[in-house]
Symmetry: C2
Subunit: 499 residues, 2 copies
């Protein structure tokens, strides 16, 4: 490549170094930092955010981008260089809309709000979180105005996580699936309930960890280039394609959170580890959108990890670890890990009800941004809507409006991507099956390499070269849609519940 | 304070935020990072070092310093503002001697060298580390030249850790104690050996951790403002006076490394936690010199933690944790933890032989800097000198020249401070005793607050306001000297070995 492109790359790598350092500060905050560190950590994150933002939005970036753009005009669309210039030009246009001071303020505010939210959730006290939430939503409204939008302020925020996607598109997709979800859940609720009591008994924490680590190692998560730690709210992050961290929450009396949580995070983690080494240290070395990212975690958690084939391989190993499960049959265990139940907590929701949780937040967030719901009223609005969707009302704020970390982090527009990820997980998996019909049999033998390699080649390696929509059309020949997901749910739960 | 001083402070706090972020990156590298992360971490550290150095050595710092200096002329020498300007002026004069590129190169080189050293030590293969060590010593020579010195290049490097101290002063102090140490060790070697076999048997790792945590909590290390993690080479670091981390190495078959290591690091940790909140987030929120820092760790590890009074309180608790020690008497246990023995590994050396290890490195480092010893020959030079000092030759490089992390980190001039810390620990403790003769009785009752409060008031709270020499003279009325330390050793080991 030409000298201008190389100079651009060196500059972008410095900025990535700062952003990756900031990501480590956030990771440490969630996994290891003592309570006293919160205030100084907020200052440190604020400074790094500000410096990273200033460096990226500087005239230097613009000059290097323009000079490099001329050098790469003859390069293929798919090439590293053309992709880098194209995507970074978009990033630059977006980032220059936000003043550095705003970025620094938002970073500090959200870093501090995290501790406030965590304590409020612990105390089940929405009012304790309200002042911070009001400040953050005020900043979200400002951010939407700064970024700009045609139709709805939510568009501006959604676009940060799903480049090019609009609120109206998401609404159409959600509207198409919602009645079918409601019908399915209704039919299931009239069927004979599944017994999952064997999952809810004491399980030694270290043994839970050992077993889950064994599973994600078999999946292909690489511990030479990754690590696992404990966190209150599980997540995956990376500071390099060769340094990817997954985190886990343990429940001493319930197998699911740690086990399926670790499968989930390893799906994110294998995406990050699968990004091409050619993109390492650059702004393209990330997942291309949160929906595509979530498609990977949900595939490994649900399509693989909650399949009967998987458990035909894994249940005997689990029984070795926990002899208290020795009398459980494969069929009963498979049904138990797929039990459908209206419940309060999104992260613990089954596949059938999960997207309803997302639609609830999607609707509330839009109304919070426009002011149609006042922040002080969002707890009541949540409870009312929850009752309308699920026919029950959260008994306290920890099981309701305070359950998720996202709002404290200023992550508005983010939730929709979880539901999109569910849809994409099935669309992509169906394509993998077309290419390799042997995948289900391999999974039943504890072999996951064919699937992972297909995901590496078709999705992971590209990093952010393509938008989520471009990538989905390259792989499936169509855009995101909910039909495949509904069909998957109908077949799976039809079988389990005899519908 | 005036507007210029406030502007200076805001600028310095931003720089401190970057440096504290870099410290977290290093901490994570030692405690949690997977092997694959080494290369990207080196890049991240290099970028942060460079930015921090550029911001500090910028014209802006100079202008703000000059303007603030005029504002604080009427302030007391001891005031925060006068101290800030005075110390930062010195820092600035020093830092501007080093070009940013040199700082970034050194950061990257040493970050990469760490993994090379760790592997070489594991493989006991000095030659595998040699190329990295040659590059680093070349950079150390360049650094000494850039900083400048009158007498010896070691002066320039030593001054980074002990402001204002010269190689000649250290040599005088070391020369004064060396023959007395040799005499003492010689006398001990002729006495009846101590049996410490009870310390070398299987001890459950989790129980070791729990017991050591109980001890350092009792000491006063604050886990609301600090945390503990595992590391190959134990250390203490902080990212805020309210976020201090100590690390521990465990040996499944030897009680000492984790137990006394945790006492040691908590001594450093309590220094960091004791720095005045008024200095939080500024360049003064650090220990004033490494010697003074080490005086705190050695005091809690040795003077307190290896005293008979301490064990009269702690041994029954240890026996509850490890019933295998039930038959051990206080007298035998006290002797065991104070066993004097010529050994290869500095960090595991007893109080009597420890400083000889330091004198060895002090002499070798001087010769490496001048080129009197070629880097390729330093393994042989180490082994020869070790034999001359201790009468035995390291059987492999892991027990010899590769044992310490410091050279891989470019920390030349650092070792001397360990021995200075030993001397200061006794000088300070003697002053605490004069002020509070009840301290030994309190220790024997598991009460450590009087001692910690005295240290807080006389040492910790001041951060870097005073140099090590200023501080020592304020507290003791004299400078650093070895007589008190030799007297302490002579009395203690005279008692134990019946000399």
């Amino acid at each position: 490549m030409g000298a201008h492109y190389e100079a651009l790359l060196a500059h972008l790598k410095e900025i990535s170094n700062i952003r990756n350092a900031a990501a480590l500060l956030s990771y440490d905050q969630e996994t290891a930092m003592p309570p006293g560190g919160a205030a100084s950590r907020a200052q440190q994150l604020s400074t790094l955010s500000k410096i990273g933002h200033e460096m990226f939005t500087s005239g230097k970036t613009s000059e290097l981008l323009n000079a490099a753009a001329e050098e790469v005009t003859s390069e293929d669309y798919d090439s590293d260089a053309a992709s880098m210039v194209r995507v970074v030009q978009e990033d630059y246009a977006e980032a220059t809309k936000l003043p550095s001071d705003f970025v620094a303020d938002l970073s500090r505010e959200t870093s501090l709000a995290h501790a406030t939210w965590a304590k409020a959730r612990q105390d089940k006290d929405f009012k304790a979180f309200l002042p911070a939430l009001e400040r953050i939503i005020g900043m979200m409204q400002k951010q939407a105005d700064l970024i700009g939008y045609e139709d709805h302020p939510y568009d501006a925020l959604l676009g940060q996580y799903e480049r090019g996607m609009t609120t109206a598109q998401v609404r159409d997709i959600f509207d198409a699936q919602r009645p079918k979800l409601v019908d399915l859940i209704s039919a299931i609720s009239e069927a004979t309930p599944v017994d999952d009591s064997m999952l809810k008994q004491p399980f030694d924490r270290d043994k839970q960890r050992d077993f889950a680590l064994e599973v994600v190692k078999a999946y292909g998560f690489d511990f030479e280039r990754g690590a696992q730690a404990q966190a209150v709210h599980p997540f995956c992050t990376s500071f390099s394609v060769n340094d990817v961290r997954i985190t886990t929450r343990f429940n001493d009396n319930w197998l699911n959170p740690a086990l399926f949580g670790m499968m989930h995070e390893s799906g994110h983690g294998m995406y990050n580890q699968g990004i091409g080494q050619n993109l390492e240290g650059t702004p393209l070395a990330e997942g291309t959108s949160l929906g595509v990212h979530e498609s990977q975690s949900r595939m490994w958690e649900n399509i693989v990890g909650r399949s009967k084939g998987f458990w035909s391989w894994a249940l005997p190993k689990l029984q070795e670890t926990f002899p208290q499960l020795n009398d459980v049959s494969l069929d009963d265990f498979y049904k138990a890990v797929n039990k459908v139940e209206r419940s309060f907590i999104r992260v613990e929701a089954d596949e059938a009800t999960y997207n309803l949780h997302i639609i609830l937040r999607f609707e509330l967030e839009q109304d919070l941004l426009t002011g149609a719901i006042k922040v002080a009223d969002v707890r009541d609005a949540w409870n009312d809507k929850f009752n309308a969707f699920f026919g029950m009302t959260p008994p306290d704020d920890a099981l309701g409006v305070l359950q998720d970390v996202h709002w404290s982090g200023g992550l508005f527009g983010y939730f929709a991507t979880y539901a999109l990820g569910n849809l994409l997980s099935v669309q992509y998996y169906n394509e993998a099956l077309k290419a390799h019909p042997s995948i289900p049999d391999e999974i039943a033998n504890g072999q996951f390499n064919t699937l992972l390699t297909w995901l590496n080649q078709n999705i992971h390696q590209h990093g952010r070269k393509y938008t989520g929509d471009e990538l989905t059309r390259r792989i499936t020949g169509e855009g995101i849609q909910s039909d495949s997901y509904i069909q998957y749910l109908t077949e799976k739960f039809g079988g389990i519940y005899g519908l």
